[in-house]
Symmetry: C2
Subunit: 263 residues, 2 copies
């Protein structure tokens, strides 16, 4: 369920349509808008890798090209998932490390204080080499936990929505009597298309929730602006122990991930 | 209100009984168990400082003694709240910096990449010098927001309790039908003495809450173990968007602060 949802979310939220799974890794072909992966909940991190055949000579020449212009102390970390490869991880590290040192005068192997790590993964699909890992938000794929309604009433409610999406909930944005909130930011993190619905009062919202069989209403209230309304529905307030600064800081992180799209 | 509560919480939770306020700083005499300050919500950080008279020669000799044995690049940051002191901040930094460089061969002033900062504060009470700042949890003094009940049902509920205490709530620990939870850890962060009350079922808990005029019941439920009970009371679930790892990480931080007591 988790994996199937993650697959379909990646296909819906990013340009990546073909996904290959190999020893716990998802492998996709490069797309210029790879940053869109950062907005898919359930992904912990990803890397841009160069792929080559499982030949030591090819590994060396591709690694050399990849590290052109880099300098400093480095360390090689090899993950040999394909055990049929003739050299073991340690031997690959040693041979590739001394080759790079000899052919690239600005690079020195330093296992204790490397300035960067050069990663080599050998699996059934080939050899993958990369130096950077781009962190994502992790969490659970949006949708595996069903649907909740999100009461939009300001910026904090947007963060509340992101937090429950990250815990696996699809959201239905709703508002009661207030102005239309911009949901384009939330849309970037949602695999499903979002439409915000407006209700004239809480009783009519409640009627709609019953009709739609939605059991939870999420809002962005904190302890200091807690409002008890009389809805007969479970209300989730993920920000109840947050303060304004913490809310702003977390929103900024999500905004950064959203703004990558324009790069 | 905030300040009065913080004063009384410090007096109740730590050995510090006399507190002097000077230009936004709280000044107390040294106590071996100063780490207990880390468990008072509302304190952002504190420093162990050495105090001397407002004489440049005394400042120099005390600074020299304080930095004995230290080495590396350093930078002086002076805060001259008492404007009657003859030198301004920049002049103090310069004079004290070159004095320390000349008298302590292992110390070099480096304004760009210092390995440590030597802080000098000059206010009405005297001159205070320190090199370390010990971070605390910040938040709001426990008690300024009134009281809530905390439903103890496992480790997560302990974190939920700490988070609402940090947002200003005194807590009443309660449990329904389950074994006695250890509240000594929560006690360390609470200015009020805690006693946990046991109820045979939720209706009797609710009756007690009505009688005590407690309007909120806090629990440690997350989204994945959400339980809807039929209590007619506002329930707060500060951990609703947390996962197990985040709960453990935050609890570890609080446990560290609690364990400092034995030092």
């Amino acid at each position: 369920m988790f994996e199937r949802k993650l697959f379909s979310n990646i296909r819906r939220q990013t340009p990546f349509k073909e996904i290959l799974v190999s020893q716990g890794r998802y492998i996709v072909s490069f797309q210029p808008d790879h940053f869109s992966l950062r907005r898919v909940f359930g992904i912990a991190s990803y890397s841009l890798a160069v792929r080559c055949n499982k030949e030591m000579d090819e590994i060396k020449s591709v690694a050399l090209r990849l590290l052109q212009g880099r300098k400093g102390m480095f360390k090689i970390e090899t993950n040999r998932a394909d055990k049929s490869f003739p050299l073991n991880s340690l031997e690959i590290n040693r041979e590739l490390g001394s080759f790079l040192e000899n052919n690239c005068l600005c690079l020195v192997v330093d296992l204790r204080n490397p300035t960067f790590v050069f990663s080599v993964e050998i699996n059934q699909q080939g050899v993958f080499m990369f130096t950077e890992t781009i962190p994502c938000f992790g969490g659970v794929p949006t949708g595996v936990e069903g649907s909740v309604a999100l009461l939009l009433d300001g910026e904090a409610s947007v963060l509340a929505g992101l937090l429950v999406m990250k815990r696996g909930c699809d959201i239905f944005p709703v508002r009661v009597g207030c102005e239309a909130e911009n949901i384009s930011f939330l849309q970037q993190f949602s695999p499903a298309p979002l439409h915000s619905l407006s209700f004239i009062d809480f009783p009519s919202l409640q009627q709609w929730l019953f009709h739609k069989k939605i059991n939870f209403l999420v809002n962005g209230q904190t302890f200091s602006n807690f409002v008890s309304n009389n809805l007969i529905i479970s209300q989730l307030r993920p920000l109840v122990a947050y303060n304004k600064i913490a809310i702003q800081e977390q929103l900024t992180e999500y905004h950064k991930a959203a703004n990558f799209q324009s790069i």
